[in-house]
């Protein structure tokens, strides 16, 4: 199939259909609504299930019901909607059934705004719902990557009976970009051996997230942690750009990483030895790779569209081996390449210092930027 000019959300929805999604349940919210609208059109055409639910609470519980039958099902929403879904996501995790959830993130907290943000990093990466569970989190940086990773998300969800979040910011959901859709995958004929679909010719089965005896719950928790360790071993994904001889490593995911790569191109032209490390799986996080990186570069610059959430994870991996600096925009503001270029120049010329004040110093610089009208 050739490349076409595709709109993010619509392309992701079509990618989900082609990956064999048989049920979509959602509630409108900017900047993810085109996802639902595409599903509203396409799913009935294909004889598959589509429901515009009464709320995100209902939507995720419809997904929960649908995936319990062994079918591939999903929802897509944006930050406030994802908050409402957290109860259901925890139940899905506790029941060990596969589900794919797309979060097209917007500025917050609260109602915030509809502009692109990465402010849900903690909520998505660290769990978000109650109890001990570990979602897989994929963070594509382009329409094409998101298309590819939605297929991957369904495969990982099935393989590990896990919740898989695909998180993009509103930029990637809304932008039009040349990209190629995968061919339509045939629907599987086999039903997983755990699925609840009517006890025809077999013993009755049930699916639940309740383990009333703490001993049983603990055994379940152990199983979930072991499965997570397996995922950490097998499923770490990332890309590298100009890192071979880099003295400065920029680390950023999604749009922030992508904007940083433009800044890096320019910095390279200026002769600055800088490269990019872009995690694709935020969970499992590329810990080992970032640890190795910290042994080969002189400093690290973390770039995010939030208050430095991934920064905390990186600092705990780097453990002060090299200075870790931070630049971020918040509230729905996307950084420009020249802002990141200035940061790269600064890190390149100034001896970056480890003084534990990374966030405070960044805020000072950010406020100055805002005063300058940026």
């Amino acid at each position: 199939m050739a490349k076409q000019l595709l709109k993010g959300n619509e392309a992701f929805a079509e990618a989900a259909i082609r990956a064999g999604c048989e049920g979509f349940f959602g509630y409108p919210i900017t900047p993810s609504t085109e996802f639902l609208e595409h599903m509203a059109k396409r799913m009935p055409e294909l004889g598959r299930a589509f429901v515009q639910a009464e709320s995100e609470v209902a939507a995720i519980n419809m997904v929960y019901g649908a995936v319990c039958t062994g079918k591939r099902a999903m929802t897509a929403s944006s930050s406030p909607g994802i908050s409402l879904m957290m109860e259901g996501i925890s139940y899905i995790a506790g029941t060990e059934v596969p589900a794919v959830i797309v979060n097209v993130m917007r500025g917050g907290p609260g109602l915030g705004n509809i502009a692109p943000s990465q402010g849900d990093y903690y909520q998505m990466v660290k769990g978000g719902g109650h109890g001990d569970y570990f979602p897989i989190v994929l963070a594509p940086a382009s329409v094409q990557e998101a298309i590819d990773q939605i297929g991957l998300a369904f495969d990982l969800a099935d393989k590990y009976r896990s919740v898989v979040h695909v998180i993009v910011d509103g930029n990637i959901g809304q932008m039009m970009e040349p990209a190629e859709l995968p061919p339509m995958r045939p629907l599987p004929k086999d039903v997983p051996e755990w699925a609840v679909n009517g006890a025809k010719g077999r013993a009755a089965r049930s699916l639940s997230s309740i383990y009333i005896d703490p001993k049983d719950e603990e055994v379940t928790n152990i199983r979930l942690v072991r499965r997570w360790m397996e995922i950490e071993k097998n499923e770490v994904r990332y890309t590298e750009y100009f890192l071979d001889d880099a003295e400065i490593a920029v680390i950023g995911f999604g749009t922030a990483g992508r904007v940083a790569s433009s800044a890096i191109n320019q910095a390279r032209e200026e002769g600055i030895k800088v490269g990019l490390f872009r995690p694709i799986t935020l969970a499992p996080f590329p810990k080992k790779q970032i640890e190795d990186l910290s042994k080969h570069v002189k400093s690290i610059l973390v770039v995010e569209m939030n208050s430095g959430m991934m920064l905390d994870d990186i600092q705990s991996i780097v453990q002060g081996r090299v200075p870790v600096e931070f630049f971020g925009r918040m509230g729905g503001v996307t950084p420009f390449p020249d802002e990141i270029l200035d940061e790269i120049r600064r890190v390149n010329t100034n001896e970056a210092v480890i003084n534990g004040q990374v966030r405070a110093e960044w805020l000072d610089r950010l406020e100055k930027l805002i005063e300058e009208g940026k």
Binding site: E22, F25, V51, E54, V57, N61, M62, G65, A199, S206
Partner: protein
């Protein structure tokens, strides 16, 4: 001689195949068990056991999936109708029903139950109205009667403070998507027989593709009402029925004429 005697014995009463042989955790005198049995008998009689998927609530019947010998899932508190929707939409030829208490259905799950009916979702709901939160130890429910003492209305439900009981069947019967909405009671054998017929018609509504169906069952909670099982049954007849009248609120014409 023993053998000959056995051969002439007629089996007239046994556990329905759709019930498992697990011992339930329900309190003595609780009518949850009766409701379970009626549902299981209907599923057996209609030959639906191997295509039925039940959705259990959060409440005293949280372990319903252990007591039925059909496929089952266990929903989050109040979300059973949403979960049932997800199942029914991807497996439209299966029989899907929820079993919910009044806290589950009429309080935390109010949005889900209203919309599942509005969509005319072709599922069945067995609604156990015992006017109290059983599982959490007897707090006020949206169906608690005015003046009724609960642990969270210790001086009796004061309608000035905490409003009036909600009549779910009456409300749901206004939905165009509903095919069968009735209220029955479990407080004596005659009413239990009527309840069973209603459950049958609710499942028939689903099997005939006539939209949303619900049977509300007035049910006892002797433990949290703090009365004996017998007094609990009298309480239903004397105090609950006047507030929650036993009636057919909506019956699809095709079901009204159905002989079962």
């Amino acid at each position: 001689m023993m053998l000959a005697e056995k051969q002439t014995m007629d089996l007239i009463y046994q556990r329905p195949e759709s019930l498992s042989d697990a011992i339930t955790h329900y309190c003595p005198g609780c009518t949850h068990g009766i409701a379970h049995r009626l549902v299981a008998e209907v599923i057996d009689e209609m030959g639906l056991r191997e295509k039925t998927i039940g959705v259990a609530p959060v409440g005293c019947s949280v372990f319903a999936y252990n007591y039925f010998n059909t496929d089952y899932v266990e929903a989050a508190h109040g979300r059973a109708p949403a979960m049932a929707t997800g199942i029914k939409r991807v497996l439209p030829d299966r029989t899907v029903y929820t079993y919910q208490g009044d806290g589950d259905l009429a309080s935390i799950g109010m949005a889900e139950i209203m919309h599942v009916a509005a969509r005319g979702e072709n599922i069945t709901v067995i609604f156990i109205n015992n006017a109290i939160y059983g599982m959490t130890g007897g707090q006020m429910a949206p169906t608690t009667l005015p003046g009724m003492r609960t642990t969270s209305s210790p001086n009796g439900r004061d309608v000035e403070l905490s409003g009036y009981p909600i009549r779910m069947s009456e409300m749901l019967a206004t939905m165009d998507g509903a095919g069968y909405i009735v209220r029955r009671s479990l407080h004596n054998p005659a009413n239990i027989r009527k309840a069973k017929k209603a459950i049958r018609l609710a499942f028939e509504t689903q099997e005939h593709g006539l939209g949303f169906s619900m049977v509300e069952l007035l049910s006892s909670c002797p433990t949290n009402w703090k009365v004996t099982p017998n007094e609990a049954l009298t309480f239903i007849a004397d105090h609950m029925v006047p507030v929650f009248p036993l009636d057919d609120f909506k019956v699809h014409p095709a079901i009204a004429n159905l002989k079962v």
